[in-house]
Amino acid sequence: MDLRSLLEGPTRAERTAIDDLLGAPESGWEGGEFSRLDGHVAYGGHAARARRNLLLPALHAVQDAFGSVSKGALGYISDRLTVPPAEAYGVATFYALINTQPRAATLIHVCDDIVCAGYGAEDLMRSLEDELGPTGESNLGVSWAPSPCLGQCDRAPAALVHSAGAGYRNVAPADPKSLGTLVFDELPTGLIHQDRSALRLLRRIGSADPESLGSYRNGGGYVALEKAIALGRDGVIAALEQSGLRGRGGAAFPIGLKWRGVADAGGDEKYIIANGDESEPGTFKDRILMEGDPYAVIEAMTIAGFATGATKGFVYVRGEYPVAERRLARAIAKATEVGLLGTDIARAGFDFDIEVRRGAGAYICGEETALFASIEGHRGEPRQKPPFPTERGVFGKPTSVNNIETLVAVLEVLDLGPEQFVAIGTERSTGPKLFCVSGAVVRPGLFEVPFGTTLRQLIALAGGVSNDGEVGAVLVGGAAGSFVDADSLDIELTFEGAAAAQTSLGSGAVIVFDDSTDFAPVLRRIAQFFRDESCGQCVPCRIGTVRQEESLARLAARSPLGGVANERRLLDDLARVMTDASICGLGQTAASAVQSAIRLELPGAVT
């Protein structure tokens, strides 16, 4: 590689922050002092480039400490990892939580997404504007910026505060007075409104101490691993196949089939990835699981390693979830200390290690192939499938990517046995399922129900519509999902029931809007979200999301281009090309909510 790095040098503090992560440079070839020997030996090639996957962690290290990544820091990271500076800049500018322009030491990200928008976000932003000035402006070292959903919809409005050198802090519900303080209390993980004795996936949330392995064991932890080892590799996969467990991240892929694919794939190098990049607006289930039951994620990943022969796992945690990241990292350290991770786990003769990777503000990185690119140190751009991840995943090796809830459900399959697991739910949608209920309900929160529960029953569990209102519509599956109206509240929440009602369960987000809602701003916020989150790789999504938002803006401004019917035609044409021709699920679903609102003739939708 013909590398030239022409950026200015790092400051001493920047160098220290980067070296703390990467270790001291070993030669002039990777950013250290040039010695005479360096002139004779080139330390390059595959070994040097194999460290590229540390690019995002290195950018985080600088961003965490200084609030932005300077030219000097980017240049030094490039040297250290043998990454061309232009590419490192391309990666840094891909992520919303990495700043390449200087910013205030404290930055307050305020969620103005579809749930928080109705529950105090506007007041919050108005008072921040009064106090600090418009977004982007710095006042006494503090500034603020609007943000997409922060995954705290059960306690809207939400904010995420980052202070250079002092880390991230979730504040929810946020009131302007609490935002300036630097108190690092960890919020309660999430209120469980249901009777815990009836729950499986949530049984330890709020009752077991998420920091304590002992507490996890007392709550039934590591029983599943024991059973898995007794069943053997094939036995585990057979049990999963028998259980009918399907992925809970949105794609509903049968988990047994996925693990068998990786188990049967050739080669020694295989990976397990726990996808905790939950970013679908209205979704917070994986946050509550990772924060409240981190050992469960670790145990299930270990079982996945055992069953598939993978020896390395990554848990990719959304950058907006600092508590989840901290608790997972502690749980991994503890499990490694007692031999539940590492070599010869539980003396069963298999090895498995887990590393936490932190996302940096990019919805697209929840898409599995984009997630691979992100871990590898590239821009989080998805790629065409096939080849599928079980064949060619992260680092080009067979990989099983599993949603956090799916992994926790794996423990239940082994705990209960597949026969009992199948007895929960319906024939084609087996087991318990988590739904994140938010918006116009009395008790927003996370609910565990058997598949087949109706939407009406779920809303009743959340206390019904708030202020004695009626349901106007429910957005099922988040921004990528579809609306159903008040006539469809008796649909069964199953994969097949949702499909029959022209929606999909997606991530399990259930956002309730009452009958006084004007949907025009909701649709515009969704269109804005997709425009902001498109990776920009393929034309249908990169430009289609822009045109969709423009069309809705013109309609809102009462200046439709060529009449309302023409705008409707444009929106339909855009929906078709995005759905049919985008590379990945983001573009393919970017028009879904808007189209469903039009189809149902919701108030404020284009009709």
């Binding site: 500076p85 391309g90 990019a362 920009g536 034309v539 249908p540």
Partner: protein, 238 residues
Amino acid sequence: MTAATQPVTIVSARVDGVDVEMAQGSTVLDACRHAGADIPTLCHGPTMTAANACRVCVVEVEGSRTLVPSCSRQLEEGMEIRTDSDRSRHSRRLVMELLGSATELDRAGEQLERWMTEAGARPQRFGMPEPESPREPPVPGHHHPPDPVFAATVAEPAKVEDDLYVRDYGRCILCYRCVDACGVEHQNTFAIAVAGRGFDARISTEFDVVLPDSACVYCGNCVAVCPTGALARRSSGT
């Protein structure tokens, strides 16, 4: 065994009802063109691995939920391909309309002009193109609210930073060809990459430093592979 002595396996497929037989390793695009279908391409080009970004070459393949990018999808035995279906023609037309609505395409060649005319592509139906303005540094995850009058474009003043090149990114369709030519496909210099995200993505050096301050060695490979005239030699009349 060397490539020359390896037996060639034949893959049979059907394009718009016509049987085709192709050597294994052929793409769906190869098969379509062999069958006489005129499929537009932009990011695909000879001597380069298809970037699979522009999506102007999508066709329908039976059994596939979405359309398939013909340039980068391997032909499989028994594939039933339709290039002339309403669905595939719609997406190809829309991709050209979207590109034309955001990008100046007047130097993208007669072939594209013909494809657009034949498809009936009307880029102007998305609104009056936003006039040229200097591009702000990328701020991923944020953008200015849409303008109710103009359709957003990538129009910006051409960059002339030396005696050799003009980089006129108002004509850039982000096909990745210059990036790949500068990097792994040809030159291994890595002076440019895609920066920013979504509609805000652009070809850039690190921190947008001028080309003479970047790793660029002026090999000319990027200019040679640019399909839309966004990159040009100054001697070529600009």
